[in-house]
């Protein structure tokens, strides 16, 4: 008989969760509830005696100072409420609280309970308020629970059995027989092949299906298959699934590898792989030019890129996206996003210690007030779920979240973008070899460590290679478990230093098929015994075990002679490790279940058999006319409106909920200044506490400019990232980049008529990436693309604006020379660096007026790079008191932020700001203040440093344009006439109000 323990807050004690939920019901759903109380529920199917249940209830699950527990009773019995909603997980969904409850119960009762069943958590919300059942349903479905992973029960106060309480329900996946491996006939019509690909979520094109079919027509292939006892002429389900995963857009980046014919007017150009030409091409050129000063150590070949930090350590970084899962379940999607990308640097080279996280989100407005298209969630719910997922993933893993941003555009309602990045520190040498090298040898054992395998995450790779549609599979959604992962990484770092393994990689998209398949390329083949793999519950078909994307798993190559020591260490640190195969040099990816072959694929066909795509791109500028720059009638109002815009306003609400200083090395935090709320341009972090050497981390992201030209979008992203890093003291000559492209489907098809234009945008963005990185000497070391960020259900199609996130990681020699953006002292001299041009196209200012077309900021690479290198010289000379980059909202925003972050005022003469002429007339105040031209900063300099500063900047465009004032006003003049005097506190309030949740 299942039993329950209910734990409630004692009368008179504060129920923080209840109060928080009540607030969100009122604010997010607009339902005026009076009060919410929370009850934590533990349900178990383990046959525990009454006295054991009493012990667990009274001592283990209940904090007697503030809580009281009920065994198989009813915590709600004597409480006032109108509706009771209980939310628990669906069978098979990761339940971290339940898992911990089970483990802890076992420790308390002194016996291992795991074989006898488990514990499952749920939460009861007792809601007081005058609402009907529909409103209670809305609270459950739209706020408290997600039907893809959770279930809920709603009862009114009169329906509750106050004696027995709620009936105990155990959400357990019933163990079932293992389904057999099936064969699939591919000798069918083309239409049927296409349907097969769709119905099995294979995401393979007809051309690719043909390539697979043709493989099974090969006589040699048939003979080899026959000898293993496999159907000679048909793939098994496991083989087809492995090929679909390995060949997925997600894993193989087919669009980036395709042959493209690019048309601009009548001019046509052939591009032989965007990746080779632009991304890899630029990095190769930069590395060659850097010569002896090349700091790249491992690029594009591993889970993350590696650059030099110092003689003993290397820096590792990777940025991933987790967009599609976050659309369906924001919390679980983002949580797996962050703990997933953690495993990339962890699985790079011989494995690195994780030292920082970054997070960048793109959402629709949280104040969305239109109907929500089917299958989509309200943007506020996505915002809050993603925020919380990254909070739990990052904080619980003990990795500081040091840098990030949130960009808003209505089109991200179709798919939110959730970029998660992680940096690591890798020993430059592991056991006498470079730490970034690894090699699985034939004969090494395949060992899987960490979590167990369930049906979760099946088809993650192929699912994210498709647009979001009515039938997108819910199995792709899962919840991460940071503690299981933390235990595993703690263990593996010890194993690394004991030299117990030869190679390591993570299990992400494609699961074991992908991790073992990639490592087997080193040795030249593998044998996998799927029946050995540890499962969460019985009954998974062999192909599912192979493809499951269950989290918290790493795959290793462990030499036979080390295996006993490896397992002893794993056991002592409470980490599960299992031998699931061995690496061979057979040339085949062979898979067995109960000693019967279920898959045999030649390594060459698996990795190189994919036919290339041939695509057409056609560029046509969408800009039909240039719009007039609106005049400002009231400057106070204009400043406040721009400062309050979603893309400009303070993100403190999110930043504060992320631990940005665990590990003790923070130097420039996300928030800075006199009141600790100024927006830092970039993060600086000391990963080694005994030295002042530091890491700088920044990023650039400007999707709005894609509406004019994706070239400018990408060029500005690179420039913004570099600008941000230089502003805090980053050295422009020791920086590496990471490119993450998130696009809307660029493959033209009848249901995607503007695919050729979107591909042209992609080509242009790549060219900008090439031009900018080469000009700045910033090699890309790792990247990722996500190409199907569209939503289509019924007639509604939403495509995201083409988006490039450019992340930067660099080395700073002496962190004590870093600079923050807040004005420091009245009397300091105000400088404007760089040229302001009338570039307001797609600016925040235009957007505020519903306008779009104008000149997008054009990045002047040479001019900017000179400025950045000389600015860095000034930083090294400790000449600068504050420095802030100009981006969204232009000079107006940067001035206001500099002033209020310093809790001081600024005076500025606009006529001194270096600006160009506009058709023979000087630029208007609106143009100077709101243009978003690249390559600019606001800097303040102590009077005694003015000479040194100006000397360091000689030859660059810069001007002394005002000063820092004690009186907290932003006073802007134009020559002799006053333009405006704005109280800094008012500007700050406008900037802070928007997202003050």
């Amino acid at each position: 008989m299942p039993q329950r323990i209910e734990v409630r807050i004692k009368e008179g004690r504060f129920d923080a969760l209840g109060a928080k939920i009540a607030g969100r019901i009122r604010e997010d759903l607009g339902i005026p509830v009076k009060n919410v109380q929370s009850v934590q529920v533990y349900t178990t199917d383990i046959d525990l005696k009454p006295d054991e249940m009493d012990i667990l209830a009274a001592q283990t699950f209940c904090d007697a100072v503030i809580q009281e527990a009920f065994v198989n009773g009813c915590a709600a019995a004597d409480r006032d409420f109108d509706w009771l909603i209980e939310v628990g997980f669906l069978p098979g969904v990761t339940d971290n609280v339940g898992r911990t409850a089970g483990e802890t119960a076992g420790i308390r009762l002194g016996r291992d309970l795991r074989a006898q069943g488990g514990f499952h958590s749920s939460i009861q919300y007792l809601i007081q308020g005058d609402l009907d059942r529909d409103q209670a349903e809305k609270i459950a479905g739209d706020l408290l629970a997600n039907g893809l992973i959770q279930r809920w029960t709603i009862i009114s106060t009169n329906e509750l059995d106050r004696e027995k309480g709620m009936k105990a329900y155990v959400p357990k996946v019933a163990d079932t027989q293992t389904p057999p491996t099936e064969t699939i006939d591919l000798e069918i019509s083309d239409d049927e092949l296409v349907n097969l690909s769709k119905s099995k979520t294979l995401a393979l094109s007809l051309k690719e299906m043909h390539a697979i079919r043709d493989h099974y027509r090969d006589k040699k292939v048939r003979a080899q298959r026959g000898s293993l006892g496999l159907a000679p002429d048909k793939p098994t389900d496991a083989e087809l699934e492995v090929l679909a995963q390995t060949w997925s857009e997600h894993c193989k980046h087919k669009i980036f590898a395709s042959d493209i014919t690019y048309y601009e007017g009548d001019h046509a150009e052939e591009i032989d792989s965007l990746f080779d030409t632009y991304v890899k091409g630029s990095t190769e050129k930069i590395r060659k030019e850097k010569g002896d000063r090349d700091f790249c150590q491992s690029v594009f070949v591993d889970n993350a890129g590696v650059i030099r930090f110092n003689d003993e350590w290397s820096l590792v970084m990777k940025v991933e996206t987790h967009n599609s899962p976050s659309a369906l379940d924001p919390y679980g999607g983002a949580l797996t996003g962050i703990v997933g990308v953690n495993r990339d640097p962890f699985g790079t080279g011989m494995g690195s210690k994780l030292i920082f996280n970054t997070d960048v989100f793109c959402f629709a407005s949280p104040f969305w007030d239109k109907p929500i298209p089917r299958r989509l969630l309200h943007p506020k719910r996505i915002f809050e779920g993603v925020r919380e997922g990254v909070e739990h993933g990052g904080n619980k893993s003990g990795i500081p979240t040091v840098n990030g941003s949130i960009v808003f555009d209505e089109r991200y309602a179709g798919k939110p973008l959730v970029f998660c990045g992680t940096g690591g520190l890798l020993p430059a040498e592991v056991n006498g070899k470079p730490g970034w090298e690894k090699h699985a040898k034939s004969g090494d054992l395949v060992v899987m460590t960490g979590g167990r395998i369930g049906a979760d995450g099946i088809h993650g790779a192929t699912f994210s290679s498709e647009l979001l549609h009515e039938d997108s599979p819910a199995t792709a959604v899962q919840i991460g478990d940071p503690i299981t992962q933390k235990r595993m990484t703690d263990f593996l770092l010890v194993a690394r230093d004991m030299a117990l393994y030869n190679s390591i990689t993570d299990n992400g998209a494609g699961g074991l098929a992908s991790s073992i398949g990639e490592m087997a390329q080193d040795s030249g083949g593998c044998e996998i015994y799927l029946d050995k793999a540890p499962l969460k519950y019985a009954g998974l078909a062999p192909w599912m075990i192979l493809l499951s994307e269950s989290q918290e798993r790493m795959t290793l190559a462990v030499p036979k002679e080390n295996i006993d020591e490896f397992f002893a260490l794993a056991k002592s640190m409470d980490v599960e490790a299992t031998i699931v195969g061995k690496y061979t040099d057979s040339g085949y990816f062979n898979v067995f279940f109960d000693e019967k072959a279920i898959a045999s694929l030649p390594m060459e066909f698996l990795h190189d058999g994919l036919p290339r795509m041939e695509l057409t791109a056609r560029w046509q500028s969408p800009v039909t006319h240039l719009e007039e720059v609106p005049k400002v009638a009231n400057w106070a109002d204009a400043f406040k409106r721009i400062l309050g815009r979603l893309n400009v306003c303070s993100k403190e609400y999110v930043v504060r909920q992320y631990d940005h200083e665990v590990q003790g090395g923070s130097v420039v935090k996300p928030l800075c200044g006199a009141m600790l709320d100024g927006p830092s341009d970039a993060a600086v972090y000391r990963p080694l506490l005994h030295t002042m050497e530091a890491v700088v981390v920044s990023h650039g992201l400007c999707p709005r400019y894609s509406d004019i030209d994706a070239y400018d979008m990408a060029a500005n992203a690179v420039d913004e990232a570099l600008r941000n890093a230089v502003a805090v003291g980053g050295n422009p000559r020791h920086m590496a980049g990471l490119d993450n492209f998130c696009w809307c489907d660029p493959v033209a098809a009848p249901d995607n008529p503007d695919g050729e234009y979107k591909l042209a945008q992609l080509v242009r963005a790549n060219r900008a990436l090439y031009d900018a990185t080469v000009a700045y000497g910033i090699p890309c070391i790792s990247g990722k693309d996500s190409m199907k960020n569209d939503y289509r259900v019924g007639d509604v199609k939403i495509s995201i604006p083409p988006t490039l996130l450019f992340s930067l990681v660099g080395k700073i020699e002496d962190a004590s020379k870093c600079v923050t953006m807040d004005a420091k002292k009245s009397g300091d001299v105000l400088y404007i660096l760089g040229t302001t041009r009338p570039e307001l196209g797609a600016s925040e200012y235009f957007a505020e007026f519903g306008l779009l077309y104008g000149e997008a900021p054009r990045v002047r690479y040479d001019e900017n790079f000179q400025l950045y290198t000389q600015l860095h010289r000034a930083v090294l000379g400790r000449c600068i008191a504050s420095c802030h980059d100009l981006s969204d909202g232009g000079l107006a925003v940067a001035l206001a932020e500099t002033a209020f972050a310093g809790n001081l005022g600024l005076s500025l003469d606009l006529s001194l700001v270096p600006s160009t002429e506009q058709s023979g007339r000087p630029m208007s105040p609106e143009e100077i203040l709101f243009s978003e031209s690249a390559g600019r900063f606001v800097a303040t300099v102590r009077p005694d440093k003015v000479h040194d500063f100006e000397k360091a900047m000689e030859g660059c465009v810069f001007a002394r344009a005002g000063q820092v004032t004690e009186i907290k006003e932003l006073k802007i003049t134009q020559g002799k006439s006053d333009l405006c005097v704005l109280p800094v506190d008012d500007l700050k309030a406008a900037w802070k109000n928007t997202l003050d949740f």
Binding site: A16, I66, T104, S572, Q663, G664, K824
Partner: protein
């Protein structure tokens, strides 16, 4: 001079062991060993060989049953191989031997839930209070100002005035089981550290008091003064560049958080 060996317990969700070890070394400890709780449970490392026990912050067992709740069960019931003891037995002996224990954040929550703090009248392993969810119902990372009770027996906070330190927690609100207990704590000066406002007065107002603790309770000690737990993270302020205002204020190079560790090491040297 006696050697001061520090042990910093890691594993199972502990996160701040690295900077904690660094703090101990900077403070002059002769050794600062990061030891996994699993090594202790396996009997491979012995608590008895150390003088200064550090329980760092983190999320033991994910704080899934409430902060440090599952962790406390492990300390109270998991057996140490080869000795028949549990970890709590060793902790008690550690205290009886006149040694020092500091618990920061999750480590403080552990000490409170194990009943090692405040241990009024020497009643160890009795839970007199708890640390629970912040009034705002959310995790926050922010710097706060704390001040110290000069009359407290706490050896860690001797001769300290006010300092800024970061808090990074979701469950830091100190709640005594009864007001009598709290009055007894006050009488015995077992609250050596409080959140204060700009005027330096103990505060119950957010954000000076980040969690709603009664009268700004930020840290608690036992009557010996050698067991001390606190929500703020002194190990996250070891260098001036950790301070969020280091680019705008003149600050000493050594971070002030170090003072707590220096006091403990100095005390143990003299003991």
């Amino acid at each position: 001079m006696p050697k001061i060996r520090s042990i910093i317990i890691s594993g199972n969700g502990v996160n701040c062991e690295y900077e904690m070890a660094h703090a101990n070394m900077m403070a002059g400890a002769d050794a600062a060993d990061i030891v996994s709780i699993y090594e202790l449970l396996a009997g491979k490392k012995k608590l008895d060989e150390y003088q200064f026990l550090n329980l760092p912050g983190g999320f033991m067992d994910g704080d899934d049953l409430g902060a440090a709740k599952a962790g406390a069960t492990r300390y109270q019931y998991a057996k140490v191989e080869g000795t028949g003891e549990i970890l709590s037995d060793m902790l008690k002996r550690f205290i009886d031997d006149g040694k020092c224990i500091i618990g920061v954040c999750n480590g403080f929550q552990l000490l409170i839930k194990l009943g090692l703090l405040p241990a009024i009248d020497g009643k160890y392993f009795t839970q007199f209070a708890t640390l629970t969810e912040n009034d705002r119902g959310r995790f926050e990372d922010r710097w706060v100002r704390v001040s110290y009770d000069e009359h407290s027996p706490c050896v860690f906070t001797k001769n300290l005035d006010v300092m800024d330190l970061p808090v990074r927690h979701g469950e830091g609100k100190f709640v005594p089981a009864t007001m009598d207990i709290y009055e007894a704590m006050k009488k015995k000066h077992l609250v050596p550290m409080r959140y204060v406002d700009e005027e330096g007065n103990p505060s119950e107002k957010y954000p000076a008091n980040p969690n709603g603790s009664i009268e700004g309770v930020a840290g608690v000690c036992d009557e010996s003064g050698r067991v001390f737990g606190l929500m703020p993270h002194p190990e996250a302020y070891l260098h001036k560049t950790n301070h969020p205002k280091w680019t705008r204020e003149e600050l000493p190079t050594k971070g002030q958080g170090l003072r707590l560790f220096e006091n403990a090491v100095e005390y143990l040297r003299k003991a």
